[in-house]
Symmetry: C5
Amino acid sequence: MGSIINCVAYADGHRVANIEIGEISNMLRQPDTFVWVGLHEPDAALLNKMQEEFDLHDLAIEDALKAHQRPKLEVYDDSLFIVLRTAQINDKTKHIEFGETHFFLGINFIVNVRHGSTLSYKEVRTRCERTPELMKMGPAFSLYAVMDAIVDQYFPVIEDLEQELLEVEEEIFGKKPTRGTTQRIYELKRELLEVKRVITPLIDICNRLMRMSTPLVPEDARPYFRDVYDHALRINEMLDTTRDLVSAALEANFSLTSISQSEVSKKFAGWAAIIGVPTMIAGIYGMNFETMPELRWTYAYPVVLVVTFSLCIILYAYFRRSGWL
Amino acid sequence: MGSIINCVAYADGHRVANIEIGEISNMLRQPDTFVWVGLHEPDAALLNKMQEEFDLHDLAIEDALKAHQRPKLEVYDDSLFIVLRTAQINDKTKHIEFGETHFFLGINFIVNVRHGSTLSYKEVRTRCERTPELMKMGPAFSLYAVMDAIVDQYFPVIEDLEQELLEVEEEIFGKKPTRGTTQRIYELKRELLEVKRVITPLIDICNRLMRMSTPLVPEDARPYFRDVYDHALRINEMLDTTRDLVSAALEANFSLTSISQSEVSKKFAGWAAIIGVPTMIAGIYGMNFETMPELRWTYAYPVVLVVTFSLCIILYAYFRRSGWL
Amino acid sequence: MGSIINCVAYADGHRVANIEIGEISNMLRQPDTFVWVGLHEPDAALLNKMQEEFDLHDLAIEDALKAHQRPKLEVYDDSLFIVLRTAQINDKTKHIEFGETHFFLGINFIVNVRHGSTLSYKEVRTRCERTPELMKMGPAFSLYAVMDAIVDQYFPVIEDLEQELLEVEEEIFGKKPTRGTTQRIYELKRELLEVKRVITPLIDICNRLMRMSTPLVPEDARPYFRDVYDHALRINEMLDTTRDLVSAALEANFSLTSISQSEVSKKFAGWAAIIGVPTMIAGIYGMNFETMPELRWTYAYPVVLVVTFSLCIILYAYFRRSGWL
Amino acid sequence: MGSIINCVAYADGHRVANIEIGEISNMLRQPDTFVWVGLHEPDAALLNKMQEEFDLHDLAIEDALKAHQRPKLEVYDDSLFIVLRTAQINDKTKHIEFGETHFFLGINFIVNVRHGSTLSYKEVRTRCERTPELMKMGPAFSLYAVMDAIVDQYFPVIEDLEQELLEVEEEIFGKKPTRGTTQRIYELKRELLEVKRVITPLIDICNRLMRMSTPLVPEDARPYFRDVYDHALRINEMLDTTRDLVSAALEANFSLTSISQSEVSKKFAGWAAIIGVPTMIAGIYGMNFETMPELRWTYAYPVVLVVTFSLCIILYAYFRRSGWL
Amino acid sequence: MGSIINCVAYADGHRVANIEIGEISNMLRQPDTFVWVGLHEPDAALLNKMQEEFDLHDLAIEDALKAHQRPKLEVYDDSLFIVLRTAQINDKTKHIEFGETHFFLGINFIVNVRHGSTLSYKEVRTRCERTPELMKMGPAFSLYAVMDAIVDQYFPVIEDLEQELLEVEEEIFGKKPTRGTTQRIYELKRELLEVKRVITPLIDICNRLMRMSTPLVPEDARPYFRDVYDHALRINEMLDTTRDLVSAALEANFSLTSISQSEVSKKFAGWAAIIGVPTMIAGIYGMNFETMPELRWTYAYPVVLVVTFSLCIILYAYFRRSGWL
């Protein structure tokens, strides 16, 4: 049935008690009290229970059941439904793994629903409970705290991609670039596009949260969403810069391949000439004409050898100076 | 005369009866009742009939007659005219086929007009009739249901294009890319552009439907159009990512062709040197000078052979180390 | 003095009479009456006459005199001045020819001024006169009718460009692309840019006409301008798709040139090896050393021939398998 | 001290008198009177004088002193400060030269300040004075007249760049493109960017002038600024088209270089084969085996020659047909 | 604890006294008085002190503690928090160094916090104190003065990048471009992207400062922020132009590499023919047929030599004329 990670009531910013699902609707009737529920990959039954207790919209419940949404913020009559995507690097595979966290935010409740590989928000909750003066703002502050944690997890992802770019640069400009380099650049581009798709909608979501005129996000919580907004902008800028550099790296790689091709051609042309000239001369003195006076001259052979060798030296020097060899 | 697929009256969300076209205007006078007509490639006569019954605008009728419109939403005094384009993969040819569906939406009627290869909406209608509490919203819900079905049909199309991209990637990085690879990339680009043209205007249409302040789209129907909007956005993002990757794949393909060209040149240059050096030496000892003392030395021939062969070995080792061979 | 093509008064949507220029101002004083004047490349004198009769602005008259304006819509106190550019394919030269049509639209008059190679609007006028119920809307409907005719003429132009693209594609992927292909792509790009410049401002003009709150464009005429707007959008989309494909075609052409270059190199390298090896062996047995025991062996020659030939066969098979030959 | 080119008072649109700087503030007290001052590269002293007489803002004076501003329009309490950049082709060097003209526009005064290589506005002033009915609009009309003159000077600049593009095209497609062609394209791109920087902000300035609700720009002057706006738009479009074509030309040039490279390779490969085959055959019959029966056959030599020559002919025909030679 | 660089009270635009931090809150109670504090890399303790004295927001204090923010402007209830990034060229390393300056702006105070390598603002303060009539505007003028100083430091950075571009151009078109050129272009691109990231948000910040309706930025201070805005725009344009030219330079470099590759191929093909033809002829007369009548003719050898040499001359002339040699 999926699992309820946590279901806690808070009053005046202080933790009151762990409560059962059935008690939620009672609790919501208390003044200055809100309930924060944490779910992990819930099934339909559990979500329907939530829908009853909190009076949520059909479509939002449907979205929360199947993951694979794009990040979005939807306003229903008296609640918000928010989808965020999480990204983190798997310590073992070193690959980027994506997950999802959904939120139902009401005036006195917040439900967060985790899907896929995302960190637990236990730590975030603990940190929140240590600042009851901020928790007083209500569920919006819990929302901020989790969003902040999600966005903070993007930074190592970006840094990983930047590191990969540095290694690709080194391959391009330092070592000989190979077919593998091209494939690495392509993979890097693909990953950047995937991460971009995760982050771009987040900017808009934060922007709306900090401007929305609704009691769900109280006035004093806005600077906190602006803070998340700011981090999202920064991550986005880092992504864009990395993407521009990856494009530039591909072009540089291409340009260097072309230059290297040109160098090979020059080197080959130079040595072909140096080998071709003696071959031609030797061919001439290998002709079988009866009357070839030079052939009889005693010193002809060493002279021809010296002349030929000198020609080769001259050619070598010439190509060297022209930068062909 | 084209065909009337269906013509049904609904009251309070429940199916009342199949009715004749001639009865429509009577039926429309009933309170809480709406009529849902389904047409397939109607001719002018049928459309004119519809125009009379529902009091539609000349220009909308003209558009509904000839297909090949771009997706659009037009507001007339008391009705909407909507054009959507459908896309689906033909099971046999594996090609993408496009069709069109037009809608006339009034306060108590909806007419959908299918053109070209589109699925029948019989199933959609059946599903709608199973949720009379939603059908109560009126014809806007029928509109939503058909639009949702149309958008859902885009997903396999996109996945097909993504699959094609994966195969192209494998061709580029795994097997040797050929002229065919370039053509495949080009065809993929063309298909992406065509699908893009179908989907982009849809986003704007959904957006307007969910924001429009008109009794035609009641307040409680809006979250449903937002749902469609969201799917359209997601499809659009998938398309854009695929398009960016196709461009990157073309560049990668190009880069690898260039690297492979460079490798051929190096290999050729290396072997040319290894063949050229013995040819040159043999040429020298093939000269016909009378005085060439080496020629007379008994071991000259094997020594020359060994020296030449050693030179070839050295050259081979050198090129090997330089990565030319 | 340029020519007055037509000068007709309409009352209640019906043609009243051909009138003289001098009578215009009298006619304008009649209720429910409007005047439609058609000019072709008028000179200053004629335009000044028009200015007097219709009280037009200096700057608009100046623009109408010299052609080579960009498409635009200018609002003056009680009239509009519109510049549209026309495009059509010259039947003989198969080239695209551009022209211009200017409009002065007042509350009870419309003047259209043709410049350069544009079709006559006689047919449009005839068609308009057949629907007096629409002509009742006043001069805005005449404006629509001519604009519609102008936009309809763009479609064959675009189709011509699409056809040209198809031929270029066939050249690229089917036959061997040549220098001519590159030039064709370049010319196609140039034409697309020129047509684009003609059409893009039109979208904005239609958009403003269908939203403008002025008695010059009555409420019931707006759907008609929306229709033109829609056609303009469609043409624009076709242009953009074609443009994107032309870019893709250039890249594909480039990529194939590069692949073909690579193939040439491989083929050359392969054959060079197959010719080079016997040459080298023959060179060795052409050396003039006195002591070369093989030379004396009776079967040496056929053996060497067979060995050499076998080597060539092996090389050939090897290159064949590697895809070089 | 820089120079005062002109300082004239106008009343009711008619020139009244040349006045001294000291008289300006007196003159400004007259009703329906305005003063038009023309300066050329004024020094700080002169500008401070102006500041006193017209009560101008510190920052505007500072900007007017040092040139090298970007085109801009700044609104101060009761005056505008406008910076435009001028461009013209130096008749001798054929290079584009840039200059600047600044304007201070008040309700009853206009000061224009020329910097660098710009035409004198004497002629503009004379033309203005010939239309007192327009000069009645006040200093805004003078501003229009000078702006119009400045924008008119851009046209030959653009045409010069278009001409340069035509020549580059001819080099690319007609004659053999060289390294110089690439450099020309690059220089053309640089010039286009420079001119673009001059013109783009102008569009915004005109747009603001024609929409600004301020007594500084009277209602009847707005169509005039719209006219300038229109010219600026047209120039901008011409620039953009030229820029797109320059990019396309670079690509075409690149593509043709690549094709030409491919042709060279094919030609070389073909001739190498035609020379390589006889060399190989000759090598074989140059071997020194004692038992080579053919060598003794009387007609062997001519037969070999004929066979070899035939092989060459066949190869030539083959390469010819394949388009390699 | 980091350092307090300065802490000065100003009354009516005149410097009153250096004050202790503890006195600040007293001083702020004086009318027409404001306090300007300058900090350098303060620690948490010092910032908390500031927070107490000036009543600043937690999040702003947190941001001011850790540097590495993106440039931004945040509005809190009665104060602004601004982050700017500084850029300057290190005189020794010739590298661009980035730093940060943060501002807290209240109605009667301004705190600027420097991080990393930025110039001291001592000089700016001195200049401000020399114009008490402007300092009367309050802390907004101090803000302007420091922002102006920061923006002025960008100009030499841009000019340095433009200079680098000029050198790269010279390498591309003048000298032979090498692998190093490609890397230089890449590094230039990277630097441009970094500087761009610093400057782009600044434009928005200035724009908001000059439009914001808040007593923190008095009406008469706005033209000053417009001035900074204008400089930021100009720098941004210079950056964009440089960036476009760097892209064009990369393309030109690439195009020239390709042309140079083509030239090498032509040269090589030409000389290969000139060497190959005599080699072939010599080979033919080196065949050992018994019956080769030419071999016996006395003048055969010189005739063959002359003919061969002439062929070479003809080939040379031919290739020369074709531009291959």
